[in-house]
Symmetry: C2
Subunit: 423 residues, 2 copies
C-alpha cells in the first residue's frame, strides 16, 4: 500500500489558466480550448515566463478518442502551444484525469527529473448528444456488474443518495441546498458554464411565463423553485436536474515548478504540501454506499504528508458531479462527521461567506464539468482563493492559508486529493 | 527543455510478465489479457512476492475506449488482479503508451513516493476489423494535415521509406532483410503472434500449393519469397505485407522497485540507468523525413543519464511498427551512421548471433504489436536477455550488460528510450 511520505523536493504552483467553460460550436476543437486556457495561464504568471523553460507537459483527458476521434492528444496540444520537443504524457483516470495528471506532475518535479512542468486538462463533450455522452461516461463503470445492470452515472449516484438517506435521514431538500449554493457561487464566476444563481433562473422563468400569458409562478423562495418538478424534473430519484453537473467543454492548466525556483515566477507562489490517491472496488463489492473508501484513504495520505488535519483547511474544491457527491465528499474528507454535512450546508457554512467555503467557483454543478479539465480546474480556483485573487467570490475567511482539491474518477474507483499552502 | 539528469533514487526491474500475443476471441477482454501477463510476472520474481506490497499501478493503453467501449481501464484491471486500493494511472501516448508508463513508474519510484510499482500495458484490437483498426490508429495523426490528406500509418511510414531511399539509396530488399530477421527471431519465441520464420512460411505455402495441384513455387531463398508479390503484396509502396507489424491482442507488465530493495525480490535485478523522452512535429513541419528528431533527443537524454554511448549497448528492442522504422531507429539511436544500417542488417549484425542483436523477441513485426502492450513488452525482453534467460533466442554476445528499449508513439510525435544495466 502507498506510503504517506514527504516528497523528495518541494513543489510550487506559480500560474493557473482556465478557458471559459460552456458549450462551444462543433468546429472548436480540444486543442483550441487548451490554447485559451494556456493564454490565461501565461498572463497569470506575475513575473512572466518563457514557455521554452517548460520541461514536460502532462494532459488529463477522458476520451478525445470517443468525443472527437482523436488519440495521442498530448503531442497534438504540445504542437499547438509551441512545446515541441518536450515530453508529453496523456493521463486518463475518468473524471479524475487531470487531478491525477497534476499529482503525476508534482511527483515528476519532486523526483528531480523536471523543474518546470505544465499540467492541464481538456474535454470537448458537446459534439455528441446527451444519450451518447451518457453512454461514453457509463463506459467508466464496471462492465461486468454495473453496465449490464443498466446503470449510468445518475443511477449510480442516486443509489448512493438513497443509501445516505436511509442511513442518515438525508432529504431531497438537503441536496437542493447544495445546488442553490453552487449556482450562487457560479453566478459570481464569469467563466462558469451556468453563471446564474437559482434566483436568476426564477426571474427569467417568471418573465418568460408572463410574456407567454401564463399565470405568474408561485415560487417564494429558491427552494420552492427547486421543488417544482416542471423546473427541476427528476432524473434518477432522488436526483433532479439541478443535482447534476453539466455536459460541457473547457480546458484548464497549471504551472508547477521546483520550490526553490518559485520566486523566479512570482512573489506569491502556492505550495503543494500534500497529495494522496487511491482506487476502490465497484459498487457491488463495497461494504457501504454512503462513503467512498478511496476518498478517505487519499485524504489520509494527503493530510499526513501535509502534516495537517481537516480542521486546518480554509477552502476546498470537492467533486460535485452530483450534489450527493459533494455531501459525501465533505464527510469523507473529515470536514464533518457522517450525517452532519447536510446541516452545515443548510446553515450556510460552505458558502463563500461561511467558515468552510466549498466549490467557490460554482463547482462542477454550475461552473461545469468538462471531464478532463475538472481536476486542474479545481486547482486553478484554490490558487486564486489562496492568493486572494478570486474577486467577487473571494472567501471571507481571514488568512486563507490552506486549500484542498478533491477529484473523483467515476464513482470513486479513482480518487485523488491535493493540498495547497500559502506561506 | 528537459534536462538529462540522474534520477533522485535508483530503480530496478525485478519481475516481468507477458501474455501470449495473438488474436484472441471477442469474448476475451483487456482485463483477461492483463491477468495472464500478471500471472507470468508473479512466477518471474525469483524470491516470490506478495502483491499487497505493490504501492501503485501504471497502465499503458491506446484506446480501450474505441476498441472495447471501456474508459477508466486502470482501476478495472486493478480490481481484477487484486490491487485495490492502490493508486492507478492510465497513460496513453499512442504506440508509446506503456513505454511512457514505464518511464512514469521509474520517475515515481525515484521521487520516493512509492517503493514498489507495477507497470504494464494492454490492448485488445482484434474486436474490430482491419479498416476499423486502421482508422483508430490513424486518429493518432495530425487532424489538420495528415488525416485530411488521406494518410494512414502505412502511408506515413512509406513516405519516410521513400525519403530514406532517395537520400541513402535504401532498397526494398534492405527492408525485406529486416522482416526476415524479425520473423526468424519470432520463430524462437513461443509467445510471438507469428512464431514462424519466413522459411516456415515458404514450406507451408509450398505444401499447400502442391496439395491444390498447383505448380510447386520457385522460391530458392527467403528473399525470393519476399519478392513474390502474391505472397508479399504491396500495402503502400515500398512497404509490403511483411514490412508491417501485426494487429494483435496482448498484455505485458514489469515490476519496478527502489534499488535498495531489489535484492528482496531477486539476486539478479536489472537496473534502470537512463531514460529519455521527447515529442516531435507532425510530418509536414519536419525538416527531414529520414530521421525522427524526438528519437535522437530521447536517446541523447537516456545515454547522458546512463553515462554511456550507443557503442555500449549489447542488445536493443526498437520500435519496428514497419521495417523502415527499425532501420531509422538504428540510425537515430546512434548504432549506425545515417545510411549505414541497411548494410549491417544484410550482414546479420542485428541477428541474435550478431554483434548488436535487435528485436530478439521478433519485434512488433513477428512478436506482434498490441499497441498498449508493446512498450513494456520490449522491457520484458531486455530483462530476459540481460539475465540470460531468453532460451533459444538468447543472444550470443558475451556479458550482455547493457540493453535499450526504444518505443515510438505514432510517427514519432512521442518517443521514449529506456536503458537497462545488469551489474
Amino acid at each position: 500500500m502507498a506510503k504517506h511520505r514527504k516528497l523528495g523536493r518541494g513543489v510550487a504552483v506559480v500560474g493557473a489558466g482556465l478557458s471559459k467553460f460552456g458549450a462551444y460550436p462543433e468546429g472548436v476543437r480540444t486543442t483550441d480550448l487548451f490554447v485559451e486556457a494556456f493564454k490565461d495561464l501565461e498572463s497569470s504568471v506575475d513575473k512572466g515566463f518563457d514557455s521554452r523553460t517548460i520541461d514536460a507537459f502532462y494532459l488529463g483527458n477522458l476520451s478525445s478518442d470517443l468525443f472527437e476521434s482523436q488519440v495521442h492528444l498530448a503531442p497534438a496540444v504540445a504542437n499547438r502551444i509551441g512545446l515541441v520537443p518536450v515530453p508529453t504524457v496523456r493521463i486518463e483516470d475518468a473524471c479524475a484525469a487531470s487531478g491525477v495528471a497534476f499529482r503525476e506532475a508534482v511527483i515528476a518535479v519532486a523526483s528531480g527529473i523536471y523543474d518546470v512542468v505544465l499540467v492541464g486538462g481538456v474535454e470537448k463533450m458537446t459534439n455528441l448528444d446527451t444519450p451518447q455522452v451518457t453512454e461514453v461516461l457509463a463506459s467508466a463503470l464496471d462492465p461486468d456488474t454495473e453496465v449490464p445492470a443498466g446503470l449510468t452515472f445518475p443511477g449510480i449516484y442516486a443509489t448512493m443518495a438513497t443509501a445516505h438517506m436511509a442511513k442518515h435521514g438525508t432529504t431531497e431538500e438537503d441536496l437542493m441546498w447544495i445546488g442553490i449554493k453552487n449556482h450562487y457561487h457560479g453566478s459570481l464566476n464569469p467563466k462558469a458554464h451556468f453563471d446564474v444563481s437559482i434566483s436568476d433562473f426564477m426571474k427569467k422563468r417568471a418573465e418568460s411565463a408572463v410574456k407567454k400569458g401564463l399565470p405568474k409562478p408561485q415560487w417564494h423562495t429558491e427552494l420552492d423553485f427547486m421543488k417544482d418538478s416542471k423546473q427541476n424534473p427528476i432524473i434518477a430519484w432522488p436526483l433532479r436536474l439541478f443535482d447534476c453537473s453539466t455536459i460541457c467543454d473547457g480546458a484548464s492548466c497549471i504551472l508547477v515548478v521546483a520550490e526553490e525556483m518559485a520566486k523566479e515566477f512570482t512573489d506569491s507562489p502556492i505550495f503543494v504540501v500534500g497529495t494522496g490517491q487511491a482506487s476502490d472496488y465497484f459498487l457491488a463489492e463495497r461494504d457501504d454506499l454512503t462513503s467512498i473508501q478511496a476518498a478517505k484513504l487519499a485524504a489520509t495520505q494527503a493530510y499526513e504528508m501535509a502534516g495537517i488535519g481537516p480542521k486546518d483547511v480554509k477552502v476546498a474544491e470537492v467533486h460535485d458531479c452530483f450534489t450527493i457527491a459533494e455531501l459525501i465528499a465533505m464527510e469523507d474528507l473529515g470536514f464533518y462527521e457522517p450525517g452532519k454535512a447536510a446541516g452545515a450546508i443548510r446553515e450556510g457554512e460552505t458558502r463563500i461567506d461561511g467558515k468552510l467555503p466549498i466549490n467557490t467557483d460554482g463547482g462542477l454543478k454550475s461552473k461545469g464539468h468538462p471531464i478532463g479539465a475538472s481536476g486542474t480546474g479545481m486547482v486553478v480556483e484554490i490558487f486564486k482563493q489562496l492568493r486572494e485573487e478570486a474577486g467577487d467570490r473571494q472567501i471571507k475567511v481571514k488568512d486563507p492559508d490552506i486549500g484542498l482539491a478533491h477529484n473523483v474518477g467515476a464513482h470513486g474507483s479513482t480518487v485523488v486529493v491535493n493540498i495547497f499552502e500559502r506561506r
